[in-house]
Symmetry: D2
Subunit: 339 residues, 4 copies
């Protein structure tokens, strides 16, 4: 039986508590938050779980095996480091930390103590993203051409991080998982429309080997909500629309037919291929539930999680590079530090 | 009565002939094309219009008042210049020329001879774009925040120009018309997925005064066809979806409510405004027909067209800047030469 | 303070408990269900509410002021009658009873004892239906032409009642509320595709005065889920799509223009009117919450609820007539017993 | 070479002329219309085809092999009969005639003279309907449960026939083609909202063997245009949406799983089956072009067309029965005369 303490009962915390609570082999032993109102709400929702406003109670409780942190990003490093130093396995909200230096330190600390560190990149555990990875691994897509994602809506303005750290982080993690490749360079542009607030609209391009390209459009100020991603390959193309209830993933047998020696520097376009469309049935598993089961499994078997610290770090490096590029109106930033 | 000769009977030419033919006060006196097959088709479609494969026949015909050119962009400068030098008013397909130097030369030539020069930026004459301009001029939108356009589909790969010159040109003209403002700088990224062919996917950001931003996503290799543009202001927001049959323009009373002195460098977000949506009825006029009537009117009254040479030149300058930026993975290019 | 006992903790019961629990001035004193599993779940969800499998506990508890019943329709009459006879106000799930005779009896019993009886036709309390009623009352629609509803999906097959009693009941209540008129006659057709089970697909037409007509299409065996209703009048038309998240109600300025003396028996169609579309913003109130507040208010002020017993009875009479017509392949059934 | 004379150059006639003109082995020898304006337009569109306002010119021209009639339905019988009596093959617009007696007479006349008679039920020749028939014939659908079609829009009010004869005729022909089964009975309801004009909204149910059922919803007064048809079987379900540009036919692996001896009168629902969706690629052939080629082929090979007179007659019988039922508010009408 793994005993877990959960820190932060704001927007996402209640989902974490709910899912840990229903996971077999897990006991949620305490919920911690600085806000009396939030603690009060936690108490009403879970009368049998003890509450505390003092994080050290969890650190000092030797029966607590793991700590889950769902607090603002600016606190991730300090709280995470303290948890690891207290010998607790760590479930850490995304983005992992404010800087890649912090992320590296957490990774080292977890390794040194042989503790499991998982970063909560929830999308990686959705049936849709799992199915797309399966299609890519099976060769259905062929060579990767482009990934083009639009993730916009009205709301959830953040005050401490810009829209890239809030929304593009999802696409960066999905890209990392799907293609297992680090981009060569990144270019980002954006704008802040409320004076003194972080950028609320941003556009990011990532350059990969072989002319593959990824583009991410994020916006907190759109009149409509869109969550769609196009993935193009030379064999098939995919539309992943997360707003669709039943047909989130559509696979298109579309593309261009090309003539000529693939070794030549020139290719000739012979025509367009327009075939069937297919929407595979997806399981209705809740992603966070699958992720928490995976976390528990990694603790018990002492194996690396899919969304481990190294992945969390790669995402932070891309977020840093994108922010730097955005400051310079899209000037490209090379991604050097690849591990 | 204005007599018009039309050059080029390929993809767009037949639409130009059809619309000139039905315009009052216009006679289409000849159709010119180098391809015997296309000339033959023109003859079948319009038995009463004379055909020729020799452009000089049109130039030398003193009864011809105006020439319309719908040929590949690489020929625009030579054919257009010859037409102007022969004293003909000029209806020129977009993009205007291959370079801004060529565009400037055509403008000078038209001015010197007091001839009407119109560039065929057809979208400017659509009821949808007209309505949006009306809403902006009426103050409905408020301060301009962002323009975000997605114009993607499978097909129409070009061999001589990249996807920016083919598709983004529409958005650049719409932006120019709607906001009557030249961007300060431009950043563009893109990729060519068929070796030796021009870029088929591109992403462009334009930076305007007051943190206003525009973004354009164009792609010849998308499994689905999208044509949607979001326009955000501080009062209202607009969704312009050109694929919709009856509700192409939707106006949303949505946004953020901001507190604090507008003079201060900080503003505080108080909340989100979510109100009614309204889709104004649009006339069903064909844009090209309205454009041709405007061209004839400009000739007769000796006035400047809305899409005149100066506008055509501004678009070429942006296309050049975008292509330059794309070569440097998004490095921003300032727009200096503003008139 | 009103103390409420809730009977039935199956599909809908938990929503009723949740909404009564959060209503000011209400205490949920007990939850009753025959199933130990469901009682157990209720206990876990609401540790502070007492549970019982014996309905008489609620009847005999003199501190219980009202009883809410969310059990299968076959039990509504017996349980409801017992509750009223025990002097409890009654919140009764729809459809009210299995027969109109039973419904009349419940109404009499409630009247005799001066108890509040509300039928849970939840749709009447949605912001969408409220807004449509407001538009109709304000004259926006003009004369009522037609109501045409499609309410289909895969699932929720019932074993004791056919699809009319399960799904069409919603439209019958909406029609009753919107137009406050009883139909003259009803014709219904349908089919059962699983042998020995009730009809899973049905089509109902209701005839009103002045050629107004309503049509309802319900199906438990559709591959896609649809919930859309068209309402046509001579001035405006409405599309109510309950699946839409933000624009559930659209008002169209569309119709036909008619010439000639409106007193004549002939009218001439002059043309079509195609104007703006408008989607009013709707409040995000939960319908069941508004309904329960209304129920409490009716108890305290001793006034009739909007969805009172008389309305519940009218719906039962239409359900009976529709079922009769369905048995005779659409042969019309007059609605005589109009109260 | 088959020489064809075409009668009627109104709404549909130009499409017929255009398609006959481009069909190999066909010469359009004359266009006939009573309206000088329409004849004038025909002359402008086709300068090389002779025009006439006198139908007898076509009848008396011995070089004319076939006559195509695209005039109002009230003239179909007289014109069609005259054409057959003059020994011409006949391409007749739908609905075939005003009465089944007239339809039978035309069939007899064509048989007697060994002439080809085709009724222009165009939908039967669309790639979408062809594909659905292929899926049904291949057993994909399994046992037929229901067909549920919605065909509504604003416009095309007719003055001589009601909306059933104008719009439902399409679904009746599609049903006939797909299932090759005659219904046992029909029930129809409807209403006329413009006084003195025919019914503009109607709802039809057709009863088939084995509890299979079809339903058709047609309306000339809807604010939105819908063209969707659901087809349910025990193995697969189909959504045919004719407004979709690229994915008109979607095949769903959805349904219910049933237990128990299929010979028993009771079946038990075990659960719902929710699997993949698949949208087969459809050819982009124009239906009318395929139909005309088929007509010419039938003439040359002396074989029966798919949409022959017997099929046209079956549709007329259903239209008559539906109209009769509609007069009696849905009272069912048995379909006796099945051949």
């Amino acid at each position: 039986m793994i005993r877990v303490g959960i820190v932060g009962y704001g927007y996402w915390g209640p989902n974490i508590v709910r899912n840990f609570s229903k996971t077999k082999g897990v006991i949620v032993s305490a919920i911690c938050d600085l806000s009396p109102q939030k603690l009060n709400r936690a108490q009403l929702d879970y009368p049998s779980i003890s509450i505390t406003s003092d994080f050290h109670t969890l650190l000092n409780d030797s029966t607590v095996d793991a700590i889950a942190i769902a607090t603002p990003v600016s606190t991730h490093y300090d709280l995470g480091l303290a948890a690891l130093k207290a010998g607790k396995h760590l479930f850490l909200e995304k983005p992992m930390t404010e800087t890649s230096a912090q992320a590296k330190h957490l990774i080292e600390e977890a390794e040194k103590r042989n503790l499991t560190l998982i970063i909560d990149h929830t999308f990686i555990y959705t049936p849709a993203v799992r199915k797309i990875r399966e299609l890519i691994d099976g060769g259905d897509l062929g060579n990767f051409y482009f990934y083009d994602s639009t993730r916009i809506n009205l709301g959830n303005f953040q005050h401490d991080v810009n829209v890239i750290w809030d929304l593009a982080v999802h696409d960066l993690s999905i890209l990392d998982y799907l293609f297992q490749d680090t981009p060569l360079a990144i270019s980002a542009t954006g704008a802040a429309h409320v004076r003194g607030q972080p950028e609320n609209a941003a556009y990011i391009t990532l350059f990969f080997n072989n002319n593959a390209i990824a583009h991410i459009n994020v916006n907190w100020l759109s009149p409509i909500k869109l969550r769609h991603t196009l993935i193009g390959g030379d064999r098939k193309m995919i539309l992943y629309d997360d707003i669709e209830v039943t047909e989130k993933v559509k696979v298109y047998d579309k593309g261009v037919d090309i003539a000529g020696d693939t070794e030549s520097i020139y290719q000739i376009l012979k025509g367009y291929r327009v075939g069937d469309m297919w929407a595979p049935h997806l399981a209705s598993t809740e992603a966070l539930s699958a992720e928490i089961e995976h976390f528990i499994d990694c603790i018990e078997k002492n194996i690396q999680p899919i969304t481990n610290g190294a992945m969390g770090l790669r995402i932070i490096q891309l977020l840093e590079a994108a922010s730097t590029s955005m400051l310079h109106q899209g000037a490209p930033v090379e991604i050097k530090d690849k591990d």
